[in-house]
Amino acid sequence: MLSLQHVSKTVDEQTLVSDVSFDVEAGQCVGLIGPNGAGKSTLMKLISGMYEVTDGQVLLFGQNVKRWSHKKKAQRVSVLTQDGLAPYPMTVYETVMMGCYPHLKFFQRESADDLSRVDHVLTMTGLMNLKDQMLDTLSGGERQRVAIAKAMVQDPDLLLLDEPTSFLDIGYQTEVLNIVKAWQERTGLTVLMVLHDLNLAAQYCDRLILLNQGEIVKQGASDDILNTETLEAVYQTKPEIVRHPVKDIPQILL
């Protein structure tokens, strides 16, 4: 599905990402974690093709990401950034419908199928009652929900999320991730996400990749990564690790 082979990125002699290799299999949900400046967002931009790699290669569905045209790539990959959608005065409905764009030919109108897909997604994400509202009148959390709905309409095989919850309160954080999880269970979507919150990462990801200073420190299940020694080495702070009483996964306390 997605394969990084010895990927490096250098800008002005400063190494942002260095010799990173990993694979993501279809249907997995993989979390990228690490401290600020570890290269997580750079890595996401290298994967989505926004930045070009200095060394190595990124293979999307077996083909180098450089070889994908913008539209073809957008048919199979959706990206949600932390800034999300600008508060542009456009209705929720129109915005979500823009997800159809990569599937349309130049000047082609949205078909009846496309429109019913938009309606279906709006219902599923609980946006039906907001559909005629303007984006600039929504809260950050609601806008992020619109961004997810737009990504769903795009109907991708791979979803890249770059800190999708960073500006949201805990209610919206779990809501956004629950929507993604439900979507994944329904369609077998593959998800790669950057998360700052390690507890959320442990709850929502099948596998974690810990980055520090542009390199992979460790990858594996949350139990392998979220332990005091590993985290202390990377974050320079000593967290307490406890077990989640219901989900039986590691959670950190500061």
Binding site: A74, Q75, E94, G99, Y101, P102
Partner: protein, 347 residues
């Protein structure tokens, strides 16, 4: 959705009818005292089939005034107004800057400089004759855009803040060059100043014949990018991830907008305010969807400039007021009124 589409068409059609009525009214008005009825008899006498019923009992001069002076001028006002308003809407959308207007990237400064050089040195190219002025102005305007674009270009990318800065700097530089040329121009000074204020006085049919195809073609191509413009509004990254080739789209749209501006400025000088104000008026009324903004800006710009030019001709007749003065006097108060009415952010 269907309801919205039919409302759009209804609006477009009623505005078009309004434009035609305004143009008809404008043809009938002017310093030469020709009666309303006679103006229309002259025009209809040139329409096949009907022409047989109309008795030609007017002097030749009447025919010349109506057909060769007023009509080409009014048509050109409509075309230039449409081009400037559409170009303004495109610049504002691509640069994501509400202050952008058709002149922000220096296209009109370049064109004005070219025009001034043509006046001062009396350049006349043999095979294009009186078309030399608009052609030189157009080429200089477009060359300016290319220079600004290449200054702002770093590697493959052009940042919108950089291109605006580059535009402002080049514009200032060309302004200084223009001042220099003007200070050395002596007896040609008045011609240059008059041209720069923007005017449709010297219009004849040949200007229309040259400008209309350029503007129509660029406008049609630009209208194909309404979806992309909407997505750019949601953010550069969002547009990129939705499958838009951001750099290419921007380049194409900037070139189209500059071609329109160059063509308009080449035949009418730098008429201010239309390109800045009309797209904002449209936005304040219909919102930020470029599928509505672009077509409505075209019609709105045409109406605005035909109206302004009519006032410029009629208000102090037989004296003519500079068109740029009228566009500012009309545009500024109305725009302020709309801005005060707007309850929320709209750009």
């Amino acid at each position: 959705m269907m309801a919205k589409r039919s409302t759009l068409w209804l609006t477009i059609i009623s505005l078009l009818i309004g434009l035609v009525i305004l143009m008809a009214l404008s043809v009938s008005l002017g310093s030469a005292q020709i009666s309303f009825v006679n103006v229309w008899r002259v025009i209809l006498s040139h329409v096949p089939i009907i022409d047989g019923w109309i008795e030609r009992d007017w002097p030749d001069s009447t025919e010349t005034i109506v057909l060769d002076l007023r009509m080409p001028r009014i048509l050109l006002a409509a075309v230039v107004g449409a081009a400037l308003a559409l170009a303004g809407a495109l610049y504002q959308g691509v640069l994501r800057n509400p202050l952008a207007d058709p002149f922000i990237l220096g296209v009109s400064s370049g064109a004005s400089f070219g025009a001034a050089m043509t006046f001062v040195f009396g350049i006349q190219m043999v095979w294009i004759g009186q078309m030399t002025l608009p052609v030189v102005a157009f080429i200089c305007g477009f060359a300016t855009l290319m220079i600004v674009y290449s200054i702002a270009r770093i590697g493959q990318k052009v940042r919108m803040e950089t291109i605006i800065l580059a535009g402002v700097v080049v514009q200032a530089f060309l302004g200084a060059c223009l001042s220099l040329v003007m200070s050395l121009a002596n007896e040609k000074l008045q011609t240059i100043v008059f041209w720069m204020m923007g005017s449709l006085t010297l219009t004849d049919w040949s200007y229309n014949a040259v400008v209309i195809p350029v503007i129509a073609l660029t406008a049609i191509v630009a209208m194909m990018f309404t979806r992309e413009l909407n997505m750019l509004g949601l953010g550069e990254e969002v547009a990129y991830h939705s499958g838009v080739s951001v750099e290419r789209t921007r380049f194409v749209l900037l070139v189209l907008a500059s071609l329109m501006t160059g063509a308009a400025v080449a035949v009418s000088g730098a008429i201010g305010f239309v390109g800045l104000v009309v797209p904002h008026m449209i936005r304040l009324i219909v919102g930020s969807d470029y599928r509505l903004i672009l077509p409505l800006s075209i019609i709105g710009g045409a109406i605005f400039l035909v109206g302004a030019d009519t006032l410029a001709r009629v208000l102090l007749a037989p004296r003519e007021l500079p068109l740029g003065v009228i566009t500012a006097f009309l545009g500024a108060p109305f725009f302020i009124y709309l801005l005060r009415q707007a309850k929320r952010e709209y750009f």
